[in-house]
Every structure is written in structure tokens, then in C-alpha cells.
């Protein structure tokens, strides 16, 4: 028989009730509806839509490009965070503020802006054209768009973690004879890895769901530069609600599995850092 202990922080019952209600009403219920809607559709049709060559190509593009973009962000976002945390230079505050711009911008605006720069007659694209490098309307353009919108996630999660890396740790490693690269690889990186993984996950999740900025630069050629969210919209425009729901279900499934994997990896990493004792 558990004796009810008065908690130091009251209000657990109330807040927990709200938490479940909100999660249920706003997150879980719509997702359930999606699953139910898929289940209600004719199974043959579902399989046909989900495994069509066009759909398979779009999965590969959506998740592949998102992974690539998140990886690029992990590297460059880390470098940017490092620069912002470790160095003091004129204009640091401005650059710091600039990081958040992709958060605030409507994604369609980013898409138009990117197209203006990278299209074959755009500011930058026209110089790449003679070399046969095409960015707009290819998968490269998609990766660039997804990189842009994912960058703040990595920078903002790594920044506080980097700020917390004690200089003493680096000093200690140095007096023990470690060179700079060794210190980075063995001391700094492992310490900020959980934060980096969080940033990576968020950037990835955001990229998978991105629609607005991509459709402008992607060109949307079926089998080539068509992302899954676009395919869903196309299905909707054809009034094929069942097919759209089925595609959405697949995205949900793949995203869930990937996010779960990353989270588990992260939890394992954190346990190693913080220790088992609570």
C-alpha cells in the first residue's frame, strides 16, 4: 500500500491531466484518424498507392535529402555554434540573430528566394550553368532548401552545450599531452554529442515535413524531384483521400521509427555521460 506523500511541488495531478489531454486531443487523435482513414480505404488501393514507383521514388528523395541536409547541418551548424560561443568578434550579435531567420520566414518565401539565387538564370545559378551544374529543379536544390530551414535547430541546441564545456577540461587534456585535434575528438565532441544529436533529430524531422520551400526549387518532376508531402497534396487534389492518408501513414511510420532510433541512441549516450545514479 503506497502511502501518499505530499509532494514538494504541488499540482502534479492537474498538470499531468492537462498533458494527457493536450497530447491526446492535438497530437494523438489526428494521428489516429490518419490510421483509421487508411484502414477504411480499400486495401488494394492502399498497396497500389503506397508501393507505386512514383511513391517509392518520393520516399527515397524525401528521407534521403532530409538525412543529407540534417548531416550537413550537423557539421556546419556545429562550426557556427563553435564560432559564436568561443570567439568574440564585432558583429557576433548580428550573426547570432541571423541564425533564427529561417525560423521566422514563411517557408514559401525561402523557396522563392532560393529559386531566385539558384535557378539557371538566377544570381548564382547563371555562373554554375556553364559548368553543367544545375541546382534548382534537381535534388541538390532540395537538399539546399532543407539545409536552410534545419540550420537553426542544430545551432541552437549545440550552443548551450558548447558553452558548458569547461575550459578546464581542455586545459587538463593539454597538460596531459593531448594535441588540439585529439582534445576535440576525445573531449569536446563526446561532451556535446547528445546536444548535437538532438539538433540533428530536430533538423531531420523538420526537413521530412517541409513542403513550402521545397516545391519552388524542386521542379517537381515525378520519379525525380517529387517529395512525398507533394505527392500527398497531388493525391488530395485528385480527391483520392484514401491514397493521401495511406502515404501520410507511411511517412508517419518511417519518421517514427527513425526518431525513436535516434532518441534511443541519445538516451544511451546520455546515460554514459551522467551515470546511472539519479
Amino acid at each position: 500500500m503506497a502511502f501518499r506523500q505530499p509532494s514538494i511541488l504541488p499540482g502534479f495531478g492537474l498538470t499531468f491531466g492537462f498533458t494527457t489531454f493536450f497530447l491526446g486531443a492535438i497530437v494523438l487523435l489526428p494521428l489516429t484518424a490518419l490510421v483509421v482513414r487508411t484502414a477504411m480505404t480499400d486495401w488494394n488501393h492502399v498497396l497500389e498507392v503506397v508501393f507505386s514507383a512514383r511513391a517509392l521514388a518520393s520516399y527515397r528523395l524525401s528521407f534521403g535529402a532530409s538525412l543529407l541536409a540534417a548531416s550537413i547541418n550537423a557539421v556546419f551548424g556545429f562550426i557556427i555554434a563553435w564560432t559564436l560561443v568561443r570567439y568574440d568578434f564585432p558583429g557576433r550579435k548580428i550573426i547570432d540573430a541571423l541564425i533564427d531567420m529561417p525560423f521566422a520566414l514563411p517557408t514559401a518565401v525561402s523557396g522563392i528566394a532560393l529559386t531566385a539565387v539558384f535557378a539557371h538564370n538566377g544570381w548564382f545559378g547563371q555562373y554554375l550553368e556553364p559548368f553543367g551544374i544545375k541546382i534548382a529543379y534537381t535534388w541538390i536544390g532540395i537538399v539546399i532548401a532543407l539545409t536552410l530551414i534545419g540550420l537553426p535547430f542544430v545551432v541552437r541546441s549545440v550552443q548551450p552545450a558548447l558553452a558548458e564545456v569547461q575550459r578546464d577540461l581542455e586545459d587538463a587534456a593539454e597538460t596531459l599531452g593531448a594535441g588540439r585535434f585529439y582534445v576535440f575528438r576525445r573531449i569536446i565532441l563526446p561532451t556535446v554529442l547528445p546536444a548535437l544529436a538532438t539538433g540533428f533529430t530536430m533538423a531531420f524531422a523538420r526537413a521530412v515535413g517541409e513542403y513550402g520551400s521545397v516545391i519552388f526549387i524542386a521542379g517537381n518532376l515525378p520519379l525525380k524531384t517529387e517529395i512525398t508531402p507533394l505527392l500527398i497534396v497531388i493525391r488530395l487534389e485528385e480527391f483520392d483521400y484514401g491514397g493521401a492518408a495511406a502515404l501520410g501513414f507511411v511517412m508517419l511510420l518511417i519518421s517514427f521509427v527513425m526518431l525513436l532510433t535516434i532518441n534511443l541512441l541519445q538516451a544511451w549516450g546520455r546515460r554514459r555521460l551522467v551515470g546511472d545514479r539519479r
Binding site: D171, E174, T175, L176, G177, R186, T191, V274
Partner: protein, 586 residues
């Protein structure tokens, strides 16, 4: 010598945090750098480790000059206050870190690790993560890690700071034991004097970036040379006394306390005496005092602390008989600290309010020539204002001494020769068109040092030292050393050869400089730099001073006439610089 520092200086934004520190630490010695926070001790330790570069000076480890060698190649072990363990690595990986960097074989690493864990009494903890250990255990791991690569020097930066008293003592013992067992040269930084006493073979006390004194713990405690060390190492009552040809007197009372140390006699002057609380004797009557009588008093406050009783006793017989060096209260009475052992308490039980007779078992006279300040001005208001001058107030606060105010309408009358000097400590006047003559008058009245302050001064960063001839050399150096302990500035001795000095005179000039430097170092523990100039003395000094306003000149003279005749220009310059004139006649 294991560690040799030669005039090491480190500046942050222009002001020195480590100021001309020279130090030798012998093989296998346990050296403790003691000082309050901000005294530069940690910066100095980091400089030895190579983590902080120095702006000036040299650092050698075992005879190898490592001034420009990076931390990773210096081969020192460093332990931090917050342990700085790698939290994502097990204890074993932490300890083997330095060995892994050096690509040692796994079997050898393992063997070395076992040996180190045994040394710090943590056997079997290999696979724990730092977060699974207590603070004391973590610091043990840090010590083991710092020793893994067999460094020649172990450096510890406040290693017990984050631990509670019991663990602290235990770890202290372990570190002392490890140090003895390995015979490794060790430098430990701390602000805790008890820790310093418990561990050190030798203690160096730092304040304001300077290494003030460096000696065995008992020597430092019994015979400190500076006020700072006297009051920082244990409690101390600082008393102003007069040194006369017959001995030390407090006011009119001669102190015949046993073991009064003598400083060089000569002219009668004011001195600062250190009276340790445990050297004070209390008795119900004057006849029952076994030690020399100091004054009458009244018990103000008693605190029981177990083994000893701490009390504060208010001096009642006033300034006539004993003066405390600290800033005097308005009533002219002051409190002295007393500690008594249990047997003493039983023999003469006391409660607050009881009248007592105070005796002195042993006093120690500080060799500092700067005892107190006396401000002179024609008007009361001017004198008050001058006594609150920021530079003077800062010095008095730093020296824990008093500034008394004298109103003297003209500063004209020179006392008849042979009459008793009425001056105590350093005389202070405001700079003005008449100040050269006023200094002259004060010196003739018996002042040994006169400080001249312009109305506005910048906190001095450089202190120029010069003496006109050899007579006041010793005194000027003593005054400089004493002053520099309380001012975070660099000392520069300016030697000046007359214009047209023959080539043959030059080596002589250089030798004078070097002699001055080594005398300052050996006799007064003052590190200073030297510059040699050629030309007219006044011209050169004025030129040097004109370079920047944050300078102060200490000028030693043996003849008061030269001030008005030759140096008048320095006194009348505008905006002017603070100047301290030191006078000793031949």
C-alpha cells in the same frame, strides 16, 4: 632547482596580475602559494603549467627553459579545483588518458593504472564513471590522472576548494603522502592558511600579483616582514611604537617584553609592531603581569571556540601608552584581539566588562619604514580633503594604518636642532608651487619620508625609483619595497649617468643598476626592473614622468637643499605626479 621563475610578469589589459615574481622551488619540495583571491597565484600556477603565456620573464623546469614551450610538452601534472575529469570516460580511461596520448601499450597502461589507483587508495574503482564517485574520490582520480605520465612537477590549483572539511583533511593527508612517496616537486595554490601550514615545506605569500615573502611556515609566522603576511597568516594586532636608542616604546611606556626584535637603530622613528593574540597576557593587576606591561583595558567580547578562548579587549589607557596601527576610532581607543588557552582561562576567569591589565610576551617589529601617515595643510578643510585623497586612502586601507591630520599654518618654522622630532610616519602634503620648500621644512623637522600628492592622480602603474647619491640608497629601497607591496604597479629603477660620462664610466653604471636590483631582491624581496639613462638627472626624470600620468616617483636624497635648488621643476610641473621623497643624511 626544479622550478625557477625569473621576473615573471603577466598583464591583463595593461595592469599586472603577476608582477615580477622570481622564485626557486627545490627538488622534491612541497611549495604552497598562498594568497587571497585575485592575488595572481592561480595565474602564476597556470603560467608554470604553460596554459597562460607570460609577458616578461623566464620559466625553467629542471634547468630547461620552457618559457615558450606549450603546455603539452612541459611534462607537468595539473589538478584543478573542480576536478576537470572527463565525464564520458571511466576512471580507468581518465587515468590512462596521458598514456594513451603517448601510445603506450595496453598492458603497460593497465599496470601503471593499477599502481596509481593503489597510490590514491581507489583500488577496484576502474570501471566507475566520475559521476558515480564522491567529490573526494573524484579529486583522487584527478591526482592519479595528473601523475600518470610521471611528470617532473605536480601543480595543484586549490584542489580542496570544493570539498567539505572532513574529506579535505583526508585528501590532504593522501596528497602529502603521495608527494613524499614519489618525491615529486609540488606547487599547491590555496587561500587557506591552515592548509598551507599543514602541507608546505615552504610557503610563498602573494598579494596584488607580487610574491611578498617566501619562507618556512614557522619562520613566516614568527617573523613576517610585511603587514600583509603578518595579518594574513593567522591573526595579528598591529601596533604603532617608537624605535629609540633605548629600545621600543609604546607612547611613553618602554616595552621590556622578552624577545623584542631589533631593527636597525639610528634615528628615532615610528615602527609597526606585530602582537599575536596568543602573545598577549591578561592579569587582574599590573603586579601580577609576568610579561611587559602594555596598557589597561576592558574585556569587550568573548567567544568560546573549544580549545581556546577568543576575546577582544578595548584599550583604555588611551593613545599615551599604546596606539593601534589601524584606522583609529573617534574615541581614540581601540580593540586588540587576545586568545587564551584553557589553563589561562581557569587561572583568571573573565567576562565581558571586566577591567584587565594587558601584558606583552613577545612582539615582532616589522622592518617596514612606512608606519603611518600624517597629513599637513594650512587649513583644516584642506587637510581633511587631502586625507581623503584616493591614493592616500587606498594606501592607508591597504596598509591597515592610520592617517592623522595636522594643521600647520605656514610650514615655515624649522625646529631648532636637537629638539625632539614631533613627526610620526610619512608626512603628506598637497602639490603646489611651494611644495619643494615645504618638503624641505618637513624633512628638517625630522620626517624621513614625505609624500607629495597632486590634486588628481591616476592610479600608478609604474613606480620610478631613483636616488641622488648612495647615502639614501638603502632607505629608498626599503621604502620602495614597502610601498610596492600595497600598489599593483611595476617598479623600475632609473639609473642616470651624467652627460658626457666617459665610456669607462658606463660599465660602472650598469654595475650600479645590477647591484641595486640584487640588493632590492636580496634584502627587501622586491623585484624591480632597471633602466640606464644618460644626461641631466632632473631632465631625465622629468622626461620619463612626462611619458604618462600613471607613474609615481620615489626619490632618495641625502641633502634637503637639492630639492629647492635642483628638483623644484618636478614639484611645480602641471598636472604633476605623486612623489615620495626619502631623506637620510650621511
Amino acid at each position: 632547482m626544479s622550478i625557477t621563475l625569473d621576473q615573471v610578469t603577466k598583464r591583463y589589459q595593461g595592469s599586472p596580475v603577476v608582477n615580477d615574481v622570481s622564485l626557486n622551488v627545490g627538488d622534491g619540495e612541497f611549495y604552497v602559494l598562498l594568497g587571497p583571491s585575485g592575488s595572481g597565484k592561480s595565474t602564476l600556477l597556470r603560467s608554470i603549467a604553460g596554459l597562460t603565456g607570460v609577458d616578461h620573464g623566464r620559466i625553467s623546469l629542471h634547468g630547461r627553459d620552457v618559457t615558450h614551450v606549450s603546455a603539452r610538452d612541459r611534462g607537468v601534472g595539473l589538478v584543478f579545483q573542480n576536478y576537470a575529469l572527463f565525464r564520458h570516460m571511466s576512471v580507468a580511461d581518465n587515468i590512462e588518458f596521458a598514456l594513451r596520448v603517448r601510445r603506450m601499450k595496453a598492458a603497460d597502461r593497465r599496470e601503471r593504472r593499477k599502481e596509481l589507483l593503489r597510490l590514491v587508495a581507489l583500488e577496484g574503482m576502474d570501471d566507475r564513471l566520475p559521476t558515480q564517485l564522491s567529490g573526494g574520490q573524484q579529486q583522487r582520480v584527478a591526482v592519479a590522472r595528473a601523475l600518470a605520465h610521471k611528470p617532473e612537477v605536480l601543480l595543484l590549483d586549490e584542489p580542496f576548494g570544493a570539498l567539505d572539511a572532513k574529506i579535505r583533511e583526508e585528501l590532504r593527508r593522501t596528497i602529502r603522502q603521495v608527494q613524499r612517496e614519489l618525491g615529486i616537486t609540488t606547487v599547491l595554490v590555496t587561500h587557506d592558511q591552515e592548509e598551507a601550514f599543514a602541507l608546505a615545506d615552504r610557503i610563498g605569500v602573494m598579494n596584488l600579483g607580487r610574491l611578498l615573502e617566501s619562507d618556512k611556515p614557522d619562520e613566516l609566522y614568527a617573523r613576517p616582514a610585511t603587514r600583509f603576511v603578518a595579518t594574513f597568516l593567522g591573526a595579528a594586532n598591529l601596533l604603532l611604537a617608537r624605535q629609540t636608542s633605548e629600545g621600543i616604546r609604546f607612547g611613553t611606556t618602554p616595552v621590556n617584553a622578552r624577545a623584542v626584535e631589533r631593527v636597525d637603530t639610528g634615528r628615532e622613528h615610528e615602527v609597526v609592531a606585530v602582537l599575536r593574540p596568543e602573545e598577549v597576557e591578561l592579569a587582574p593587576t599590573r603586579e601580577q603581569l609576568q610579561a611587559g606591561y602594555l596598557a589597561q583595558g576592558q574585556v569587550e567580547e568573548i567567544v568560546f571556540t573549544g580549545a581556546i578562548e577568543r576575546m577582544r579587549v578595548r584599550l583604555q589607557s588611551g593613545a599615551e601608552e599604546a596606539q593601534l596601527a589601524g584606522p583609529a576610532g573617534d574615541s581614540g581607543t581601540a580593540l586588540i584581539e587576545v586568545t587564551r588557552t584553557q589553563p589561562e582561562q581557569r587561572a583568571f576567569p573573565l567576562a565581558p566588562g571586566h577591567p584587565v591589565f594587558i601584558g606583552v610576551r613577545r612582539i615582532h617589529v616589522l622592518p617596514t619604514p612606512l608606519s603611518s601617515f600624517s597629513v599637513f595643510a594650512a587649513e583644516e578643510a584642506d587637510a581633511k580633503k587631502l586625507s581623503q585623497h584616493p591614493l592616500l586612502a587606498g594606501l592607508a586601507a591597504g596598509m591597515k594604518t592610520r592617517v592623522s591630520v595636522r594643521v600647520d599654518a605656514t610650514l615655515d618654522t624649522v625646529r631648532a636642532p636637537g629638539s625632539k622630532p614631533d613627526l610620526a610616519g610619512v608626512a603628506v602634503i598637497a602639490a603646489g608651487p611651494e611644495s619643494a620648500r615645504q618638503v624641505q621644512v618637513l624633512l628638517q623637522r625630522g620626517a624621513g619620508e614625505v609624500l607629495v600628492l597632486p590634486e588628481t592622480v591616476v592610479a600608478p602603474q609604474r613606480i620610478l625609483i631613483h636616488w641622488v647619491d648612495e647615502t639614501p640608497r638603502r632607505a629608498t629601497l626599503a621604502v620602495s619595497a614597502s610601498l610596492l607591496r600595497h600598489v599593483p604597479a611595476e617598479a623600475v629603477y632609473v639609473g642616470i649617468l651624467p652627460e658626457g660620462a666617459s665610456e669607462a664610466a658606463r660599465p660602472q653604471g650598469v654595475r650600479t643598476l645590477l647591484d641595486a636590483r640584487s640588493e632590492a631582491q636580496a634584502v627587501h624581496g622586491l623585484e624591480m626592473r632597471t633602466e640606464l639613462r644618460v644626461g641631466d638627472v632632473v631632465e631625465q626624470l622629468a622626461g620619463q614622468l612626462a611619458e604618462s600620468p600613471d607613474q609615481l616617483l620615489i626619490l632618495g636624497v641625502s641633502n634637503t637643499e637639492v630639492l629647492t635648488e635642483r628638483f623644484n621643476r618636478l614639484f611645480t610641473a602641471s598636472p604633476g605626479w605623486p612623489m615620495l621623497i626619502v631623506y637620510r643624511s650621511a
